[in-house]
Symmetry: C2
Subunit: 356 residues, 2 copies
């Protein structure tokens, strides 16, 4: 295969000496020619672990540097069947949890020599599109922190694309998962609330279809019951700040039996709820009303909020997620695994003794 067999109609310029047509990027053949070696040698030079003598490596590297040669990841991907791309699926909604996760995952991927192909997914249709795109781009794997239906997952599975779920999973399906289990922390917080004299609580959940929301709600319900706190009412939000604020409006806060604490299944809603309580209902949080969140996003600790919340160890979870993806890329038939992390209570200042 002649690499560059002088196009049929030589455009009068570019004679033998010029190694590189202006603007065209150097290929391994160009480097080989300049170094006086074979293309294979160049290829091996850039592939760690190949059999290459020091002398050869030196010559090639010199030529490569001169031509600013870097291997073409696209061509490499074609032959190796590895794109080094990983699709990362997050929600595009204004929920600071996602950017935090996204950035952490991106860093970890980067450290592992992989690149993040970003997808924002906020509906089933989005997810369908993502799956096709991921397929087209031959991503090595998918890390999903957002919507994905069982059917969609099945498609990826059939196509042998490794998927790691980030803080979500299908209970009745084998899948690879990093997950933060907040059960102990829920108990801890609820017990504390009980000790502080709270007897009535309300909860703001996420969409009922959402597994994380359901799971957290379940834990909260159980813990409340166990600690002698009554769950007066539950309203549904959608994880956004606005829905937290709106949620509070739906809750009857006056009269006997009114809740003295609101538990929100994520921080964004908790912050919305807190702001609503303070600025619209003119309540003092935590004196008049205690509020609890989930996630432990950076912003929840700003001094306007100082939310009492249950943090996920996002850093360690991201690290795990990336490691699991690389493992599954190496050994696709490896059995599925669920790595569970403990949450941690951030004491915050959004809970206090129940008003009398």
């Amino acid at each position: 295969m002649a690499n560059n067999p002088r196009k049929k109609n030589p455009p009068e310029d570019e004679s033998k000496v010029i190694p590189l047509i202006k603007g065209r990027r150097a290929t391994s053949y160009d480097v080989a020619r300049l170094a006086g070696v074979s293309q294979s040698a160049v290829s091996r030079c850039f592939k760690p672990g190949s059999s290459i003598s020091g002398k050869m490596r030196e010559r090639v590297m010199k030529a490569a540097k001169e031509l600013e040669y870097q291997p073409n990841a696209i061509a490499r991907g074609l032959i190796t069947q590895r794109s080094n791309l990983v699709a990362v699926l997050v929600s595009g909604r204004l929920n600071l949890y996602y950017p935090e996760v996204l950035f952490k995952i991106t860093e970890e991927l980067s450290a592992a020599g992989l690149r993040a192909l970003l997808f924002t997914v906020d509906s089933e249709d989005d997810a369908d599109m993502v799956i096709e795109q991921a397929w087209q781009f031959q991503v090595d794997g998918v890390i999903s922190a957002s919507h994905m239906s069982k059917e969609q997952y099945a498609v990826l599975e059939k196509r042998q694309i490794p998927v790691v779920f980030f803080n979500r999973y299908f209970a009745d399906h084998p899948n690879t998962v990093v997950y933060c289990d907040p059960s102990e922390q829920v108990e801890e917080v609820v017990k504390q609330l009980s000790d502080l004299g709270h007897r009535n609580a309300s909860m703001i959940t996420g969409p009922s279809a959402n597994m994380v929301s359901r799971e957290r709600a379940r834990l909260v319900e159980t813990s409340l019951k166990r600690n002698g706190i009554e769950l007066i009412s539950t309203v549904q939000g959608d994880f956004t700040y606005e829905s937290g604020a709106a949620g509070l409006q739906e809750i009857q806060l006056h009269g006997s039996g009114a809740p003295t604490v609101i538990i929100c299944v994520n921080d964004m809603m908790a912050m919305g709820c807190m702001d609503e309580a303070r600025s619209v209902l003119e309540l003092d949080v935590p004196k008049d009303l205690s509020i609890v969140g989930f996630d432990g996003i950076g912003m929840s600790q700003f001094s306007s909020y100082e939310l009492t919340t249950i943090r996920q160890p996002i850093g360690r979870m991201s690290e795990s997620a990336v490691r699991m993806i690389t493992e599954r890329v190496e050994r696709p038939d490896q059995s599925h695994e669920k790595r569970v992390f403990e949450g941690a209570v951030i004491p915050g200042g959004s809970i206090a003794r129940a008003p009398t």
Copy 2:
């Protein structure tokens, strides 16, 4: 070129009928074989604008659907020299401005048939790495909302990779830019401050190396002077919440001649500043101290803050950025262009009449 010339050692299975080795993804050859046409026909079917008869298209599409065929973007990229990937560079720091921009840009890219390859860049070294990676992955273009030195830009330029700067640019270098010019809004806000009786102000800037910070600072200084407000002091932050809080500590707020308003060159610092004023210094914002920000990020309008700020039209800017990238990909020699957008004042509630 035989596509699938039956591996030398046929593993006793997979005889002639089975069109697809289990797990292998279908290629255009597989589709061609099943449909009884040539590979070129399949290729043309999936390339809009190619010369194909309706009958042929139908046959191919039927076979393609059956095999779940989707063109391989990697292989396509190799031959067309278009990867359909765009590197998006944002800062990984906790500044909600970046996620907002990132998500908007990603959506717009997606609508244009491009995918975002995400890079978080927080130092020159990061940027060096990004440039090499972008080169390796043959990205069609780069949208940079973060650090990039002139030298780094020069490298990309030499390699003919189109770059669009998002809200930053090199003044003494031709470059393609979307930019939000807040000059009128600065004047508007400062005038309002003046009308409210403010005579002394302080400012919290970003790093002095940062062009956006310098530009905003310059505008603020000029406007203050023009409106008879004295700039008592300027302290330097790094665009983060924490640095806004720390910045306020450095400002002498008591005694005659103390500033009655703090202007922060971004919202994150303004929020940090506001929280610090309220919770540590126990000041009433805006009664005791007015605060102004820049960017208009979503969070700045949460009711804990209701920051008076100057918003960038991120949506329209992102749209433009993507359009400019695609234009430059089509016509690399097109002259550079700088699209400037107007800011908009968000009145907010963080400024009030100067205390007496």
